[in-house]
């Protein structure tokens, strides 16, 4: 039973008295929800029009979709998304979890360490991309440093290697955001019921086993949340790639968000850009719908139990 009765069931004079609170509740919510709905619908509508430089009327069916799906850019971007998305999520989750477990060993300087792992979150992607493009550039970055120090055969040239370049984006993205995963996992570890752990310890269970059997299972919901947030980040990644590789070498590190931007604003074809954006949203929905369903089931279970 919800704490307040539905508003509509109240007599009208009460509603009038409650006008200020209705305004405060509904106006911001409606504006915010309105912008989401109209922007998404507007883009979907654009994807069916012959718009080029500016929005235009007309209907061209699926022509824009076919054109986008036929380009090498989109194919490469989509393959990259699968690679980058899975690589990034797995690496940042595992790195975040390991760091959280290590920090949870009651070590000295935890505050400092936590700040160190979190600070990349504070920096803009443009800066991250630029700085990492210096470090990863074999001519001026890490490779040059190591070569100059004497190890002349050392090679670290993923940035210019079209097969490995996508991994430079993975590295940078993990660096930037695994602190977030660490923070959530750390918080999760801290909220594990101490009695459970103690009971296991009394039973003589070793620390590794305690983590595997008792603690980690309780982190499951956090893991799902972090994974979804990171996936969403992976799918919409834009500034980082633009500053780090610019989609290169060649077109080897294209990602859907870059293709959308490219069609809309570089190639002057709003219709195709909008079609690419809708395709991107569909990919997002493919990730989100299972998550939402899962959460709805969880909530219903919680409500029943």
């Amino acid at each position: 039973m919800s704490p307040a009765a539905p508003a509509a069931a109240r007599p009208p004079f009460a509603s009038l008295k409650r006008l200020p609170e209705f305004l405060v509740i509904w106006v911001p919510l409606l504006i915010s929800a309105g912008h989401v709905v109209t922007f998404a619908l507007w883009t979907t509508w654009m994807s069916f029009t012959p718009s080029t430089l500016v929005p235009a009327d007309g209907f061209v069916g699926l022509r824009n979709y076919n054109a986008v799906l036929a380009t090498r850019n989109w194919k490469i971007a989509f393959d990259n998304l699968l690679l980058f998305g899975s690589g990034f999520v797995v690496l940042s989750l595992s790195a975040g979890l390991i760091l959280a477990i290590l920090l949870d060993q009651r070590i000295r300087g935890e505050n400092v360490l936590r700040s160190i792992f979190l600070y990349p979150l504070a920096v803009s992607f443009v800066v991250t991309g630029t700085v990492w493009s210096w470090l990863l550039n074999p001519g001026i970055g890490i490779q040059k440093l190591v070569n100059d120090l004497g190890w002349t055969s050392f090679r670290f040239d993923w940035l210019i290697d079209r097969d490995m370049a996508i991994w430079t984006i993975v590295i940078t993205a993990v660096w930037q955001s695994c602190g977030f995963a660490m923070a959530l996992f750390l918080a999760g570890l801290r909220s594990v019921d101490g009695d459970l752990v103690k009971a296991a310890q009394i039973d003589g269970t070793g620390p590794v086993r305690i983590y595997r059997r008792v603690i980690l299972p309780t982190l499951w919901p956090i893991t799902i949340t972090v994974a979804v947030i990171q996936l969403q980040f992976a799918i919409t990644t834009f500034d980082l790639v633009r500053a780090l590789t610019g989609g290169g070498p060649g077109i080897a590190t294209q990602l859907p968000a870059l293709v959308v931007y490219d069609f809309m604003f570089q190639r002057g074809n709003l219709g195709r850009g909008a079609a690419a954006a809708v395709l991107m949203l569909l990919v997002l929905l493919a990730v989100l719908l299972p998550h939402w369903t899962w959460r709805a089931i969880q909530n219903r279970r919680a409500a029943r139990g």
Partner: protein, 425 residues
């Protein structure tokens, strides 16, 4: 959108009719301009132009949009959609015609005729600035994108004294430099435009006729012709001589090595001269020559910057546009501008013999005149002069992928290029 445009167009025309010279003279001319020229010699040149504008009693309001070209286009689009376009903005090539369809532009015919400008501009170039037969934009400066820069010290190191004029000679010299110990005889940048520029230099150097048919007219047969394969083969040679560590950086990062003779040759636009001088190098550190041409006659791949003028109702803005147009066409202003940036004037009647011009600029201006006469002037693909941005980007995709991926054969590249053209049509 179209309703608003029409209304604005009518208002603009009405204002133009209602405000003859007498009334204009009373207002102080004002110009709102956007461009991406925010730094270096480009920035210095436009600032100098602004000073001249102010000297003539105008109010100069230039907003440089830093960053990528797309950021400037986004800004222009946003302002046009908001019904508040700048009174003039940087725009070039076929995009002038495309953008002039979405918002009304100023008809500059009278001002251009009064200046007698049409006679002194290369016809191919003039056409780009006259969408629908009316002048709506004015070219400001011209660059040759297939300019060959040779490092003096590298030339000495290779013990060579003759500059290459054909691709065969170019290749021979590059080999010579390589055996003299230069790891990368060709100095390069890693951007998309850089890759495209090298391709167009190859193709136009091999056959300007094939370039015109394939890259400018998108002729299906020409796109699959033997010259295309030859151009991709030559491009592969260039790619093998370039420093692969460049990633997506600007060619400017290699300039110190180029001058020091650790890199030998550079195919760049004339703007590289301004950048070299700005970086503190001297004119005798490098030699400027026309890019290789296999038919031994000069080939000029043309790139021009221009301003498009958007219709405004305000009398002061209209007066400002007229003043700006007059300034842009003025030979003295073009001289000032080109001397700062390293370009050459749009006007073919400017005398470049005086001080302030480099031998390279004189040579480029002379080549332009000669190439116009024998119809060997072509428009640059890499710098968005030959095609609209969508087509250009689709073609450069193929070229840049080819440069960075050794496993693509010239035959595959030719096939992919014509596919990409079909897809973007």
């Amino acid at each position: 959108m179209s309703n608003i445009s029409r209304r604005a167009a009518m208002a603009g025309t009405a204002a133009a009719l209602a405000a003859p010279g007498a009334l204009r003279a009373q207002v102080k001319p004002r110009l709102t301009a956007i461009s991406q020229w925010s730094a270096g010699s480009d920035g210095a040149a436009i600032t100098a132009l602004g000073k001249k504008f102010e000297e003539r009693g105008g109010v100069w309001q230039h907003s440089p949009v830093p960053g990528f070209t797309t950021d400037m286009m986004n800004k222009l689009r946003a302002q046009i959609m908001a019904g508040d376009p700048p009174s003039c903005s940087q725009l070039k090539g076929p995009e002038i015609a495309a953008w002039s369809k979405i918002a009304p532009t100023v008809n500059l015919d009278a001002t251009v005729a009064a200046a007698g400008y049409e006679k002194v501009v290369a016809p191919d170039l003039a056409k780009l600035h006259k969408p629908g037969g009316k002048w709506a934009a004015l070219p400001l400066q011209v660059y040759r994108t297939n300019t060959l820069f040779v490092s003096k010290r590298a030339l000495d190191r290779a013990k060579a004294d003759k500059l290459p004029t054909t691709w065969a000679e170019f290749n021979a010299l590059a080999e010579k430099m390589k055996s003299a110990g230069m790891a990368y005889p060709v100095s390069n940048g890693g951007s998309r435009a850089d890759d495209g520029q090298k391709f167009e230099a190859c193709l136009a150097g091999i056959s300007p006729t094939a370039y015109r048919a394939a890259c400018m007219n998108l002729d299906e047969k020409a796109l699959k012709g033997p010259e295309m394969k030859a151009a991709f083969t030559q491009l592969r040679k260039l790619a093998d001589w370039m420093d692969p560590n460049t990633a997506a950086q600007s060619y400017a990062i290699h300039l110190p090595k180029f001058v020091a003779g650790e890199m030998g040759m550079m195919i760049q636009g004339g703007w590289a001269q301004g950048v070299l001088l700005n970086a503190g190098f001297k004119l005798d550190d490098f030699i400027i020559a026309p890019g290789p041409s296999d038919n031994a006659k000069p080939v000029f791949i043309l790139n021009a910057d221009a301003f498009i003028f958007w219709q405004r109702k305000e009398a002061d803005l209209q007066a400002g546009q007229k003043l700006m147009a007059e300034l842009v066409m003025d030979p003295a202003i073009q001289t000032m501008y080109s001397q700062i940036t390293g370009s050459i004037p749009v006007r073919t009647d400017v005398d470049l013999s005086g001080a302030g011009w480099s031998d390279g600029q004189r040579e480029a201006a002379r080549t332009l005149k000669e190439a116009v006469a024998i119809n060997q002037v072509v428009l640059s693909l890499a710098h968005n002069m030959a095609q609209e941005n969508g087509m250009t980007a689709a073609m450069i995709d193929v070229i840049t992928e080819y440069v960075k991926n050794r496993s693509i054969t010239p035959d595959q590249a030719v096939a992919r290029l014509s596919e990409a053209v079909e897809g973007a049509r």
